[in-house]
Amino acid sequence: MKIKSFIISIITLFVIWVLLNHRLTPEVFISGAVVAFAVGLIFCNSCDIFNDLKLTPKAFFYSFLYILVFLRELVKSNFDVAKRVISPKLPINPGIVEVKTKLKSKLGRMILTNSITLTPGTFTVELLDDRIFIHWIDVKSENIEEDTNMIVRKFEKYLEVIYG
């Protein structure tokens, strides 16, 4: 199923082109479509990164939910880190913990680790198969299960539906 990956790449390129031009006149539309198709044809011959993406209505709904959850976590943890930075005692408790993920697809794992990195307070140092090593600014537990529940689960339950 390479064709799915190919089509998603072309659509992504075309949307970026239209946003950069900021208008949709016929010449922009035609040149964009031709160039996006050519670039997709040349560079997306063997790419299979988007093949894991499910295009069902449920997946779209969960993508939307995922963005909301992600934004909520982003704001919450930004305030948390900001509070730590300005408090005189500097209440940090850093360390590198290990968690496990249930996601199988490459794209799903990439989005999971990038989300973890984007939320302040935690970031991914290393990803080896299903083990993720995370630097945490405030280590609450050293148990793998508990850490997985605290850091990964809130994102994973949505990504599981979208990427399987």
């Binding site: 730590r84 940090i92 970031f123």
Partner: protein, 121 residues
């Protein structure tokens, strides 16, 4: 001055406050990893809010601003992950208050296994 411009300016101001806090964190944190936390992280929301406010003020370039936000969301975590990974790989000294480092333990175990295998043959 229209209302939407005032709202945009206010959001940009909040964003710059977050950027300021990120810079303060960069100075106050004790080691590389915690500095990456403060430097690149408190600034994610700062950058996003600043750009969002700009998009509200200049509505005609809102599409490009949206694209910038998406690119920052893609590239920011990759760069901080690579910095941290390289720093850990060359064995940079961690702060004394570091509680646990499971990656170092994992690497050590793996090295021991590799050195033991040829001997077993």
């Amino acid at each position: 001055m229209e209302t939407i411009e005032i709202i945009g300016a206010f959001i940009t101001l909040i964003g710059s406050v977050f950027l300021l806090l990120g810079s303060i964190g960069l100075i106050r944190m004790p080691d590389v990893f915690t500095r990456i936390q403060a430097g690149t992280k408190a600034s994610t929301l700062g950058t996003l809010l600043s750009l969002f406010g700009l998009g509200l003020i200049y509505l005609d370039i809102a599409g490009k601003i949206f694209l910038l936000i998406v690119f920052i969301l893609i590239t920011n975590p990759v760069s901080s992950h690579m910095l941290a990974r390289a720093a850990h790989y060359i064995g940079i000294k961690k702060a004394d208050i570091t509680v646990v480092d499971k990656l170092s333990t994992f690497r050590k175990n793996e090295q021991n296994n590799e050195t033991q295998k040829p001997e077993a043959k």
